[in-house]
Symmetry: C4
Subunit: 237 residues, 4 copies
Amino acid sequence: MKYYLKNLVEANKSKQSRRFALFIQFLIILSVITFSIETLPDLKPQTRVVLNSIEAFCVLIFTFEYLARIYVADNKLRFIFSFFGIIDFLAILPFYLTFGIDLRSLRLLRMFRLFRLFKLVRYNKAMKHFASAMMVAKEQIILFMIITLMLIYFAAVGIYYFENEAQPEYFSSIFDSLWWSIVTLTTVGYGDVYPITVGGRIFTFFILLIGLGIVAIPTGIISSSLTKAIEPHSEDE
Amino acid sequence: MKYYLKNLVEANKSKQSRRFALFIQFLIILSVITFSIETLPDLKPQTRVVLNSIEAFCVLIFTFEYLARIYVADNKLRFIFSFFGIIDFLAILPFYLTFGIDLRSLRLLRMFRLFRLFKLVRYNKAMKHFASAMMVAKEQIILFMIITLMLIYFAAVGIYYFENEAQPEYFSSIFDSLWWSIVTLTTVGYGDVYPITVGGRIFTFFILLIGLGIVAIPTGIISSSLTKAIEPHSEDE
Amino acid sequence: MKYYLKNLVEANKSKQSRRFALFIQFLIILSVITFSIETLPDLKPQTRVVLNSIEAFCVLIFTFEYLARIYVADNKLRFIFSFFGIIDFLAILPFYLTFGIDLRSLRLLRMFRLFRLFKLVRYNKAMKHFASAMMVAKEQIILFMIITLMLIYFAAVGIYYFENEAQPEYFSSIFDSLWWSIVTLTTVGYGDVYPITVGGRIFTFFILLIGLGIVAIPTGIISSSLTKAIEPHSEDE
Amino acid sequence: MKYYLKNLVEANKSKQSRRFALFIQFLIILSVITFSIETLPDLKPQTRVVLNSIEAFCVLIFTFEYLARIYVADNKLRFIFSFFGIIDFLAILPFYLTFGIDLRSLRLLRMFRLFRLFKLVRYNKAMKHFASAMMVAKEQIILFMIITLMLIYFAAVGIYYFENEAQPEYFSSIFDSLWWSIVTLTTVGYGDVYPITVGGRIFTFFILLIGLGIVAIPTGIISSSLTKAIEPHSEDE
């Protein structure tokens, strides 16, 4: 029995284990879709009942999977406190916690259900590549993240001094100006706040000319380290 | 006769076949322009007659080309069910289907006329490069497309929890928040929806800092694999 | 005398010729600034007189330079019909043409004065690099420009079918939809037109996911060929 | 005593000097946060007192550090006029200058307090990489900055001629059009100004197709030279 379970839940090439993995992945996607639909306003009570049933079924399977994984693990404590052990636990925790509690206060708790998406990492090569690539370039990314943050801060201070008097409602403090700064330097440009004074526009002109190159660096590092991670042959050149 | 036709329609270096190819390309562009002009509101009846005549002429030639290609093909069935055989058939189908049908219900059918643009692929080296480059990098693109979709989904869930109460008309559900999420993470930033709460703005701040690098990865993979595909000498380095 | 002039106007290392080149560059920048100031509304008549005097002075020197270059050229006709010969001629032509003509109709003619900026190419290494890099990658840029245009066109057709009924004032024809298409796929996103139907938003979602990678290709080709052109040592690796 | 101070303020591997460096970095961040909070409107008088006390404390320590660095320097004059000597001086100057001066006129002076952020460079490897990478690519960046500026100027002139009559309030002169030009070509696209005429839109279409590749070049150069600067092993390949 234990051998059969071990064969089932642990990733290997047997037919059953692959079917089980696909089934779990399907349930993860299903419960995420259920979670999304639940946020729709004006849901009919019947729909809500269906959604809750699906949710209960998913949690049931996930609980079975979690217990089975503990049962078959050679070192049970190590599995429980491993990354995937904690993820598996957090994926079912919110359901059991919300029994009999008022639904209003549960908003944040329900969000924990999304930890289930991390369960997909176990089956996903791309996510593993992503995680390992981030580890390799970690130091560089942090260093240039700091430069980017300093530039965004400088831009916010500059625009505050130029626009504060003309638009006190949008540039009331450096914290408000930071919003303009991030939206502009990432080139999102919603258009909710923008400079209207001549000085502020000239400042934006130079900040954009200089800043785009700098803001693009962390993006470039992540992209290039990921591209390298998925091209193993390029490393032994 | 069959030999002459074969010489004409199949891509080779003879003068006639090149002229015929250019003529077909010209008709494709012409019929696409005709298609675009037909969507203009308040067209005069005379203009409509001219447009319909051009369309009928194009279809006539395309039909002749299609039949000629079947006639000269060594294996007729294989041509009919090949990629270009199907494209050639779909390019003329809508015209014959719409005889005597009410024009209102034809909207979607008329769109099939755009399949003619794919006929250009036969003559276009760039499109072939594009298709082959996409094939090579297919697996990577799909893997990081999934990561990108997961990030967009996380951003949507996050903004939903921050902005739902403040702006229930724009962030009424996770599906509505997904719209904000894609528009922001691709840096399009229309400005129709944007966070107004402090929490939502800080969340956007971090999502933009982290997310732009990740969203840029599929873009980077497509770009680099295409650049490689058009630089054959870079592969034997 | 001819020898002295030749020494002056033709690019060499002598002190006088370098001073003359700097003086001409200064006049080009000055006349461009003058041109910009002239577009300001509500200029005082005195300011206009000053601007016209500067303009007349610049044209005087440019005319002298043009005649001197013809005079010193070994093959006068070849210089006149060379790229720089034509640019030098176009730079002074508008001034002489506008004597005694009504000022209203001159708008477009005055724009020709900007050809003077091309005179800077003669002195600017970067512009020469740019021009030569564009020549090398010309074929690739054109090929992917065509793919980009086809994608923009497909996006326009798609959004037209989704949004035409909901927003007939913004998506009245495919030509209007093309405006949305270019603004969205280049991620400018002014926010003057955007989809509001569910279908249109889902279509935008997929077009953005797929399209950004493709639209970035011509940009990437220009960037990489230019970066190569300014790094000669990277070519002999 | 002098030996002890030298050990403390100059960067070396001793425990005390590292603790002192961390302490100074903490004060720099603290004074920047204080500076940001001071810009908040409607601060209570008590809060202001607390902020001023923190500011006074920071300046006290910075003054001690500055004097200590002069004291331990072998060549005192050379330190005072070195980059970091001037930065250290400018970081404390505004505080002493503002004693007894009316607070209204101090706006710009207070901004000098941000020079303290540059003090972080002394401790930050990334900033040194950044500075050295900028030095290496300085010439190229300037050259393509000029091309970018010329393109932005051409775009502004073009849109001025197309949109000036239709929207004289937004495109009143070339200087106003430059604002549109920089916001569009960097793809920020606030949506405060955009073309509405057919001519202006077609012009924007082509400027975006051509211009994005060129504007991306300085960005690309900065990114690539920085990526190289942080990957020393890639240079000896």
